[in-house]
Symmetry: D3
Subunit: 158 residues, 6 copies
């Protein structure tokens, strides 16, 4: 029985994130999507809004749960009795950043292992920040985020 955690800010969830969730849910027996609350960064959606959106768009995935957590991922890993952290990577630059975070997590908690799932090349250009910028400039993000997220983003950034 293998339990994975997918930790991120998901502000908001994009179809790129959703693709990683679906593929991780297929690989691992259990997947918990964790909205990491970072009090040092301003966010567009509250933690609860983000959890609601993720829960809604993953409702068909039986082995996927979602929660929000403050504090260190290395501690959440133990609290959640996880076996592995999952992260998506698009290119060498993502990898350099993720190797640093994975190294720090394993330093803080020797049990923590991280695996990287290569992003589907279809979503290679998506990121929450670029999508929010396009919405602010009046662009259509249809197909880049789940519909419920699209509606909420437009109203929030009108």
């Amino acid at each position: 029985m293998t339990k994975a955690l997918y930790v991120g800010s998901f502000d908001p969830i994009t179809n790129g994130h959703l693709d990683i969730i679906k593929r991780a849910a297929k690989i691992f027996d259990e997947l918990t999507v964790v909205v990491a609350i970072n009090t040092n960064k301003s966010a567009l959606f509250t933690p609860q809004e983000r959890v609601n959106l993720i829960t809604q768009v993953t409702r068909d995935l039986e082995n996927v749960a979602c929660k929000s957590v403050t504090g260190l991922t290395a501690e959440t890993f133990t609290q959640e009795k996880a076996d592995v952290l999952v992260r998506g990577v698009r290119n060498g630059e993502d990898l350099n950043f993720e190797i640093q975070v994975a190294g720090m997590n394993q330093y803080l908690n020797q049990e923590v292992e991280t695996v990287f799932i290569p992003a589907n090349s279809k979503w290679e250009f998506t990121s929450s920040s670029l999508i929010k910028e396009v919405v602010k400039m009046g662009g259509s993000i249809k197909g880049l985020v789940p519909e419920t997220v699209e509606v909420l983003l437009k109203s929030r950034l009108k």
Copy 2:
């Protein structure tokens, strides 16, 4: 007849930008340099100042025009009846960022094609931000930007 757009913030134009402009003007029949106005970012020079500087330093290049635009590059591409977007790249990191932006532009407007011109290695270390930082610290940027830009930068950052 091939029309290219070179879109950026140009805050201000550097000799690295100017090198890309001259080479793109040689490759393509028509080149329009577009100062992209981003209301979410503070700039040192107003859009009009940036357009004036670019117009002045490219006055000898007959097939080069310059304007400032708010809004999405993907829309400007259609409004300007362009055939291609041009961007300069210095290294793998620039490329990762540019591939993401090019992917989003093509998603928003299927007609958009982007080509990358390899930066002349002579200007590999220049960027508007690093040049502004050097001026703030009293360094000489002679030869890194056109003279008119150098004079204006010094007075603005005195």
Copy 3:
């Protein structure tokens, strides 16, 4: 009037190459695909076979011609009265190699300019060498190369 050259070994042409050809043909007024004959490397198909395959799969693209050439690209550039060289790039590693080749070409012939077209992420994992390896191991490459190429490859590598 802008004439581009797309120089490569094309041993054989893949759908990744064909995607670059179609997009370059859309950007530039004229495109010549040049099969570069490298006497130091063994090839699976003869130069003429490669030219025939390319000519056949680009027959609907009116502004695209194809020929094979021995000798330096920097010299072919002048002989063909080209304005620009076109190359596809998938990631930072491709870029490092291409920047080196572009730098040497411009050193040998100052007129040579090179632009890079970002590979369509759909074809990011294709390359002639990986496709040939898959065929040798009995895998199906349907959809990765034009059909005529698929048939010829299978018979050649049976």
Copy 4:
């Protein structure tokens, strides 16, 4: 129940490989190490020798099996009823190569998913080829490969 495959040439297995095996065996319920036989490449050890070495150095890992296979990994994936392919990555360059191979594997067999485990920085500089080169030049590789491998390598490359 999650079954992973770790496919490679392992010519021979190094402590870097062994580290990935141990960590994958901890993450997944079952791990099969597959020695991929590539008839196009010359190898130092026979497939059976490589399987024997791997089997011996992983004997304490109950959920780890080892076998050699010719043919496509995408087919082995189905034959072995695997859930995921596992590969180690050290840097951006490894990732670019692995993303290409993972993309081809998923093209050949849609069920194939690949995850990358970041190499332990301790083994970042090891590779079978560099280790063989050091042995050929009389260097000591103590600690870089399991002892049995060290003994066999020295005798084979004397």
Copy 5:
């Protein structure tokens, strides 16, 4: 007689920085660690606090001195009669940034030469910013920074 400068913000010094200092002190006859004061950036520790910390943790290294400087590194290089600048690099991304800074320093002062020391892989995941973030979230950074720094960090970020 070779004198090196190691210039950075060191806000605060980490064991990764200390590793570079020890190795540079072994390579070069003289090493001056320079705390670069950047009035445009907010810092956690004052320049004097940073100098005190560095002086304390390098007290056993006879050929190492420390000072803080405002102004351009290219000018400090001449004032300090240095022969070379030393910087640590962990991966390709660090290198791209460092090549840009080294290029600008050499443009501002032709005498400036920069050499890069590969970070010890043990400290590959450490950086002042990530360490401060972990402390803010209540994590233990024991072993990542010298003890005196650990104590001061905890009190400062309580």
Copy 6:
């Protein structure tokens, strides 16, 4: 007193190598250029020819010596009583390879330290292999290698 070694195949020396030699000779008190003889690789020039060429083009650099060596660099480091190994790097890819070699050298001999000198962007596109290829195809390499090397290369590759 700091003694550096610059180890490579130099088959043949290029102006890119020479630039690294001149800059290393300026930084360090003593520099020995070591032609590493690799019996597993075919070379265009004999070790002695390479040493003669290097000796000739560095005759004005008083603190530079040259020799050829078989065997491990880690052992040569001790025999030559060196303080540091010097290597040139052009981009992230070079760095990944050099970090691996530096890691292995330090593993084989804990005393070995390696520093990287950023290649002058002017020579970023040069490499012995690319230069030999251009000569084979009849191209002019004037200015890319010292004149004596140019003459010898042309006659050898006629």
